[in-house]
């Protein structure tokens, strides 16, 4: 893991990416992040740009369904898991009492390790007074990679039962970052929510687009997402998806936070029909192609 490598993982507010790197996120699930990210990638490709798409929704990646890609190359991602040397272990219990995730339990005659509780911090190894803990490893997920002509797609896939989404996302970003300088644009499809996986997916971006919808849930979670990323000092912009004409509550919030609304996509049955056929929003008609080209132009300009 390269979690300490700031050039690839990006510090908060660090703008650590070598080329335009835009994260698409949302506090609420189901607002249309993936549709927006995929449509935007397609708009940029159609405009002759070279594009990388990073599906960082590692607990449920689905952008590839829109892309019609072939077989990916895959890379396993591992995290540290303590390995106990029974010959050295004195059963003192320091490791178990240190671990706030309860990944270790000390019984009368042995130490039990619970892999799916472990966050891979190596703290147990550091505090062990008998040097009885070594760095073992466990596979937490995989990275899929597709390479096309002017297009590259990356996807993280966390194994069922694993908890280390941020570790997998950081590794995904590290790999995508290595090739980012060859692209005009890198787009990150973030996991929904406002917790660690979303923060890890958004971290290091040059620009953040929050997708919301005009429902009380959309508004509430937009406010949470804005608050969550505030300290990253990222330029934030908002897209209102499935607008039915009255977005006053979202507009009020955005005005109060000085966050621009850069697109307002109408609630359109044609989008749902395209989606049901596995096609992104941009393919829902000529008007949609134009909307996305406008958005692409906007995002190529200054924040």
């Amino acid at each position: 893991m390269n979690s300490e490598d700031n050039t690839t993982t990006g510090k908060a507010g660090g703008f650590g990416r070598p080329a335009p790197w835009i994260a698409v996120a949302s506090g609420k699930g189901g607002t249309g992040k993936t549709s927006v990210a995929v449509s935007l990638a397609r708009a940029a490709l159609q405009a002759g740009r070279r594009v990388q798409l990073v599906d960082a929704d590692v607990e449920g990646p689905n952008a590839h369904h829109f892309l019609g890609l072939g077989e990916p190359e895959t890379f396993p991602v591992e995290a540290m898991l303590p390995r106990i040397d029974p010959a050295r272990c004195t059963l003192c219990g320091e490791c178990a009492s240190f671990c706030i995730y309860q990944a270790l339990a000390v019984l009368g005659d042995r130490v039990m390790v619970f892999p799916d509780m472990c966050h891979g911090c190596e703290g147990c190894r550091v505090v062990c007074p008998a040097q009885a803990i070594e760095n073992g490893s466990q596979e937490i997920g995989r990275i899929m990679h597709w390479r096309g002509e002017d297009f590259e797609a990356w996807q993280g896939r966390l194994h069922v039962g694993q908890v280390l989404s941020p570790t997998l996302i950081r590794e995904l970003h590290r790999r995508a970052c290595e090739s980012a300088s060859g692209y005009d644009l890198t787009l990150v499809d973030s996991p929904p929510g406002t917790s660690c996986p979303m923060m890890a997916a958004v971290r290091g971006a040059n620009r953040l687009v929050l997708v919301t919808e005009p429902t009380p849930f959309g508004l509430h979670d937009l406010e949470l997402a804005m608050a969550a990323v505030r300290r990253m000092k990222l330029p934030v912009e908002v897209i209102v998806n499935r607008s039915i004409g009255d977005d006053a509550a979202i507009d009020d919030l955005c005005r109060a936070r000085a966050v621009p609304v850069i697109a307002r996509f109408p609630d359109d049955r044609a989008v749902a029909a395209a989606y049901a056929e596995g096609r992104p929003m941009i393919e829902a008609g000529a008007e949609w192609a134009k909307q996305y080209d406008d958005l692409r132009r906007h995002l190529e300009g200054p924040c």
């Binding site: 178990a96 000390v106 009368g108 039990m112």
Partner: protein, 135 residues
């Protein structure tokens, strides 16, 4: 909390003068059994011979992770040789299994009732863990 040294276990797990832990909602024999194991408010520890009781409070009620593992370790450390609760999650179950401590399932009633039922050999041993419970 005192462990009971030199316990001889019989074949059915009921040794002479062993320490039984029962999850409870209060600190007396008349308190209701707490059906939760990892997030039980308290455990009443009962010496099976003398029926002397003591209370064990475990700080796992509010734990964000691994309440079952934490509770199981605390009960083993306290010297419990049998545990009675409503259910037992998979991780706590692994810990008890590794330590050879049986977990008995009770459906409700007071700690006194549950202990009496255990005495009469009426409580089934949990052979399979229940579903993992998340905070």
């Amino acid at each position: 909390m005192r462990g009971i040294a030199g316990v001889v276990q019989s074949d059915d797990g009921r040794g002479k003068n062993m320490l039984i832990a029962i999850s409870a909602r209060g600190g007396t024999m008349d308190a209701a059994m707490d059906p939760r194991l990892g997030r039980a408010e308290k455990f009443i520890l009962i010496e099976s011979d003398s029926e002397k009781t003591s209370i064990l409070e475990i700080a796992a009620t509010q734990a964000t992770h691994g309440a079952g593992i934490q509770t199981a370790q605390a009960l083993l450390k306290a010297g419990a040789k049998a545990v009675i609760s409503g259910d037992c999650g998979p991780k706590a179950f692994q810990v008890f299994q590794a330590a050879g401590v049986p977990v008995y399932a009770a459906t409700g009633g007071t700690v006194r009732d549950v202990f009496a039922a255990w005495r009469r050999n009426e409580l089934p041993v949990i052979g399979q863990p229940g579903a993992a419970k998340h905070a």
